[in-house]
């Protein structure tokens, strides 16, 4: 298996808008892929298609060489994939600890009825909360956290999922440098474990420092791909993305 995710001629339309337009990309196993493009270029739609938030209209999506004709978001655990959201989506009226525990505990509803979280679950959750600097906030409601802490809790839930593929939709947007540094550390740590990561990001210095490979989208199509330094010098990328 060379690629952990492949799309072939992937199409998603919203009414007359071609959000993803015959897109064919490959995500190698264990790579950290940057996904960039102007606003409305289809990056988040692609993440939504890969994570089963929307069904695709045409084309094919392959995970580890096998085609998934219909991607259902609740099957993500089985397919070892998870994601974060551009607009943070926490369980706001639940505690920080419960936001992590719900990711750690039983998925089967009948077994979940007879399961109470154990010391093992608590220890795992606390370890994750320490990693994202939220251990002291574990009994606070997620809705009461600051913006940066909310972003970190989203990353914490991703860590709790412990999947082979992670789709990060603008995890650094609007954050202070210390929080950016923290998330960078976590992403680098995930890379060393061989996790495949797709990172949607607008900050080019972060893209340059983290990514092995860059995919540039424009108007739902693949504009360019390759090594970040090389791709970011291509004239069509500069024109479409940077307006230069």
């Amino acid at each position: 298996m060379k690629y952990i995710i492949e799309t072939k001629n992937l199409v998603k339309n919203f009414g007359g808008v071609h959000a993803v337009d015959h897109l064919s990309i490959n995500i190698p196993k264990g790579a950290l892929i940057g996904l960039v493009g102007p606003n409305g270029s289809g990056k988040t739609t692609l993440i939504n298609l890969l994570s089963g938030f929307f069904p695709h209209d045409k084309g094919a999506i392959f995970f580890s060489d096998s085609e998934r004709r219909k991607i259902l978001s609740w099957e993500n655990k089985f397919y070892n994939i998870t994601r974060t959201f551009q607009q943070i989506r926490l369980f706001d009226q639940m505690s920080v600890l419960d936001n992590i525990l719900v990711v750690l505990t039983e998925r089967n509803p009948f077994r979940a009825l007879f399961e109470r979280h154990t010391e093992y679950h608590i220890k795992q959750a606390e370890d994750i909360l320490r990693r994202v600097d939220l251990y002291d906030k574990q009994f606070h409601n997620a809705g009461n956290l600051s913006y940066g802490q909310r972003k970190l809790l989203e990353i914490g839930r991703v860590l709790a999922m412990d999947t082979d593929i992670i789709l990060l939709d603008e995890p650094f947007a609007g954050l202070f440098p210390e929080v950016i540094k923290k998330i960078e550390e976590i992403i680098k740590d995930l890379r060393t474990k061989g996790t495949s990561i797709v990172l949607v990001e607008h900050n080019m210095s972060i893209i340059r420092s983290l990514c092995d490979y860059l995919i540039v989208m424009d108007a739902g199509r693949l504009l360019a791909e390759g090594h970040p330094e090389k791709v970011l010098r291509e004239p069509e990328v500069l024109e479409a993305y940077l307006g230069e």
Binding site: S51, G52, F53, S73, W74, E75, N76, K77, F78, T82, R83, F85, R89, L90, F91, D92, Q93, M94, D98, L101, V102, V103, T105, E106, R107, P109, F110, A112, L113, F114, E115, R116, H117, R157, M161
Partner: protein, 287 residues
Amino acid sequence: MEYIFHIAILVSIYGILALAQNLVMGAGLLSMAGAAFYGIGAYTAAILAMKFGFNILTILIFAPIIAGVIALTVGSTFARFRDDYFMLATLGFLMIFNTVARNWEALTGGSFGIAGIPKPHIFHFTFGTPFSFMWLSFFLLLVVTIICYYISRSSFGRVLNAIREDEDALSVFGYKTSTYKLIIFAIGAAISTFAGVLFASYLTFIDSRLFTVNESILLWAMVILGGIGRNRGALLGALLLIIIPEGLRFIGFPVEFAALLRQSIYGLLLVFLMLYRPKGILGQYKL
């Protein structure tokens, strides 16, 4: 003294209903079907006791199974809905139930209802007095309370809370949320039948007018007043909304006017709670 026992029985019956409604609403499911499953319990008790001679205590085993199967059947469609769509679908179910109960005279007695429903008995003891019936009601309320606390504190309960918060986000973490919604809808339905069976046996008479949308709104008011997602809130809501309107009896209003005033109190209470205390008295969550 019998009046106190009567109030205690009503509080127990509505406490059971409010706990069941709270389980469902705690998952963000705005169900209007509470009165329908309450009615299904009551009619199951009336029909099995009057036509087949079943003991009411035996019916307490059968009624939840019947309601659970009905809830699983209709719920397999309802579980795909959320928010106002779920509410409208369950309201439709309640209206269908009410229409069937009112018009299928051979089974339900139609608008004449079913009278003479017996009291439960065990060996040679009959729960025939309000005092003994009160203790039976308390016992069932205790059983239901234990079940509800158990569910709330399980991993399943945590998932229900997360469904209420953001169903789509939860599905990303590998949860098939529609199955959870279906199961809690069926559990809530099954629990509601305990109250229906008790009510039919206590009153000894039922008809379709007892299980209308007004009853579902009352259950909403109890849960919202006490605090959505809190079992003790549901119990407090049931206690307050049974006791407070009973006070109207002592003011001396005519019976018809008191009944109308009671409905107005429930409606006004819901409006004021939404405006000033959306989490209810003991609640932690907003809808």
